[in-house]
């Protein structure tokens, strides 16, 4: 995983770095990863549940982020024929393949918290 550079030439662009860029284009922003984490934890979720549950998100943002994730086939939107119409969102099979990313991000957050705690004492 190491390749020292002594010249001033830029190293060739590794596929992994391109893949990182591609992924981050889809997941950038303050809310997308949180939304996906929610769907991984809770399965099918209604719009208002997310709006109330994801602290601080505004309806406009939630709506926009859900649309973008749907366009990228990360999640699916289903309108239910209930009394007041409800809409359910859930991860697609492809969306579920993000679980590795979400879990890694989540695990590191906990690692980082411990790191900060160790330091301050």
């Amino acid at each position: 995983m190491n390749a020292k550079k002594t010249t001033q030439q830029a190293p060739e662009c590794k596929e992994q770095l391109i893949a990182i860029k591609d992924t981050m284009i889809l997941l950038s922003g303050k809310w997308k990863i949180q939304i996906i984490g929610w769907l991984l934890l809770y399965g099918k979720v209604r719009f208002m549940d997310m709006l109330r549950g994801i602290e601080g998100i505004a309806a406009k943002m939630l709506s926009k982020e859900l649309q973008e994730l749907e366009q990228n086939q990360i999640l699916a939107r289903t309108v239910m024929p209930t009394k007041p119409v409800t809409v359910e969102y859930e991860l697609t099979e492809h969306g579920k393949t993000l679980s590795g990313v979400i879990e890694a991000v989540s695990a590191w957050g906990i690692t980082h918290r411990k790191f900060l705690f160790k330091k301050e004492r």
Copy 2:
């Protein structure tokens, strides 16, 4: 990993979701994850190497992102006593614990590319 909601109450806030939020605060932006990916691949890297190698980044951005990552103890900055001063950046031990995240992000980018490819034919 599933907890259906039928009530209108928001589900309690899971630790994992907080951890996701914490992590994304540190890694948000267009460049940070790419920079960390670079340092994981190449070890010690000089400022100008990154500036030339990370496609599209401007000096101001690189400088700012490196400062933020240093403040969060993800990487370390070392001024080398060379002819024209050079500065080396490398991940700290703590920064290296991000490898799981970076690898997951990178791997998913490749998964996603395959998914798109399968669909279009």
